[in-house]
């Protein structure tokens, strides 16, 4: 008998995967040489599962800003901002994010996960309602559990379903906060924000958008989906992360809500954790500057995403509903998904394996994230490997079968 016996179902499912000789949840890189290349099991890998959208992890200006801060301010802050105080960089970063989004207030967190825990658990409370898109990220679900609001789930990207569920809450006191994501992390689809804004106005609710995967990716200025759909003034709160397009770690929240600063003394995931190290703050500030001054990175990213998405679709793979830098291929069954994932790895392509219940509709996914750092040749190499492996496992037809199916 072990204390952990309650997790037996997960333990045995994980063991069954490992018994096939693959360990998708414990990949160990021997080297990461650039945003798009690494070494695994002695073999060179194309990295296609990093969320490193703009490829800034190895940007020289980010590295030098970070090392200068490291030398000047040391390795860590060793405490939370309310107890140990803030460094100049924390204020500078918050001012820069607020300015970038054109908002009055910004607050940073030590991770994006904590930003969602903090914001969801404090914006709404007892007697209020939280309306979560069904495909919301785990951090949003966990944030909803940390707070005391009533949590209602609506069908993914479905404004009519959202309206119906808000109507059921009519007459009950309390505020309602709708939660959606810029780009969903599993299938890469975007939220219909314009329609959500209509529902929000009609029902007198508030709207929060998590731009974790869309900051630096969508919109003319890289502010994300709300900018791309021209609804920024109707989005009450935006949360996001520094760990993807900005190449570091950390989370943030921006808003024009009156009295915002009270969050600093009520938001526990902000209050009771050590603040971001100065070196991380410095590279993030520089990366945010690059997002604003180098739109060509975004254009290259989108071109790469199209090359991969259209390429996979043409080969006959079942991809997500929209083309974005997250490109997911559906595989009918978990065992098959593990085998395909491992074969792709053996052939030099690293991407993420996502298994139910972490995926929408319990469909196993081979999840890629494209970077501006990928070359067209790398994407083509990935497509060639996908074609070979997909045919071998019967996920797609061979060129000959495709030709005869057409005739």
């Amino acid at each position: 008998m072990s204390l952990l016996d309650k997790h037996e179902a997960y333990r045995s499912a994980y063991q069954a995967i490992r018994d096939t000789g693959a360990d998708p949840f414990n990949v160990r890189f021997e080297a990461v040489n650039s945003p798009s290349e690494g070494v695994l099991n002695g073999k060179p890998m194309i990295l296609l599962g990093t969320n490193n959208y703009l490829g800034l992890t190895f940007d020289e200006s980010c590295i030098s800003a970070s090392s200068e801060a490291l030398n000047r301010f040391g390795t860590g802050t060793t405490g939370s901002r309310i107890a140990n105080g803030s460094f100049g960089g924390h204020h500078e970063l918050e001012a820069a994010i607020a300015k970038f989004y054109g908002r009055r207030h910004a607050m940073t967190f030590t991770t994006g996960y904590q930003a969602n825990l903090g914001v969801l658990s404090t914006l709404v409370g007892r007697g209020d309602h939280l309306l979560l898109d069904a495909d919301s990220h785990a951090s949003l679900y966990d944030g909803s559990r940390l707070g005391h609001a009533e949590v209602i789930r609506f069908r993914h990207n479905d404004p009519d379903d959202l309206r119906k569920r808000l109507q059921r809450l009519k007459g009950s006191p309390g505020k309602s906060l709708i939660v959606a994501e810029g780009i969903y992390s599993m299938l890469g689809d975007a939220a219909p924000l314009r329609e959500f804004v209509e529902v929000k106005k009609e029902m007198g609710a508030y709207l929060l958008v998590d731009e974790a995967h869309s900051l630096g990716v969508l919109g003319e200025k890289g502010r994300g989906l709300a900018e791309a759909q021209d609804v920024e003034k109707d989005v009450d709160v935006i949360v996001g992360t520094f760990s993807k397009s900005l190449g570091a770690i950390g989370g943030f929240c921006v808003s024009d809500i009156e009295g915002f600063d009270v969050l600093r003394v009520v938001c526990r995931p902000y209050m009771f954790t050590a603040s971001l190290p100065p070196s991380v703050v410095a590279s993030t500030l520089q990366a945010l500057h690059i997002v604003q001054t180098q739109p060509q990175l975004r254009h290259r990213l989108i071109a790469n995403a199209q090359r991969l998405y259209e390429g996979l679709k043409t080969l006959g793979f079942q991809v997500g509903p929209q083309c974005n830098p997250i490109v997911a291929v559906a595989v009918p069954e978990p065992g098959l998904a593990v085998a395909v994932w491992k074969t792709l790895l053996d052939k030099g392509v690293y991407l993420n394996l996502a298994l139910p219940p972490a995926t929408p509709d319990s469909v196993p996914l081979l999840r890629s994230s494209v970077s501006a750092a990928h070359t067209p040749e790398q994407i083509d190499r990935v497509l060639a490997v996908f074609a070979e492996v997909g045919e071998a496992f019967g996920l797609i037809l061979s060129p000959r079968q495709r030709a005869s199916a057409r005739s």
């Binding site: 309602h129 069904a134 909803s144 559990r145 005391h148 609001a149 009533e150 949590v151 209602i152 789930r153 069908r155 119906k164 569920r165 059921r168 809450l169 139910p356 219940p357 319990s362």
Partner: protein, 88 residues
């Protein structure tokens, strides 16, 4: 309501949960009030939330996810639904 009537209301709700679970899981699921949702029926957290979303539409009410923390059996879920229906 008398004890007998209360029982039959619970019975009807349990039967509806069985129908909805079968529909969401795309296979026949035999349930009783005593069925443990995770252990006996093999329903994971996501599937349970999907079943609850369908039940909200069937019964035209809101079933807040935070109320599911105490739900272990089909009977618990039926009791929660009946409680919410009385309040609605």
């Amino acid at each position: 309501m008398g004890v007998l009537q209360m029982d039959s209301v619970t019975d009807l709700t349990v039967r509806q949960i069985g129908r909805t679970a079968s529909q969401v899981m795309q296979k026949t699921v035999e349930v009783t009030a005593a069925s443990n949702i995770g252990r006996d029926l093999g329903i994971d957290s996501l599937t349970l939330m999907n079943i609850v979303m369908e039940l909200e539409d069937t019964f035209e009410l809101s079933i807040p996810l935070d109320r599911l923390a105490d739900v272990e059996t089909v009977g618990d879920l039926a009791a929660l639904i009946n409680d919410l229906r009385v309040r609605a």
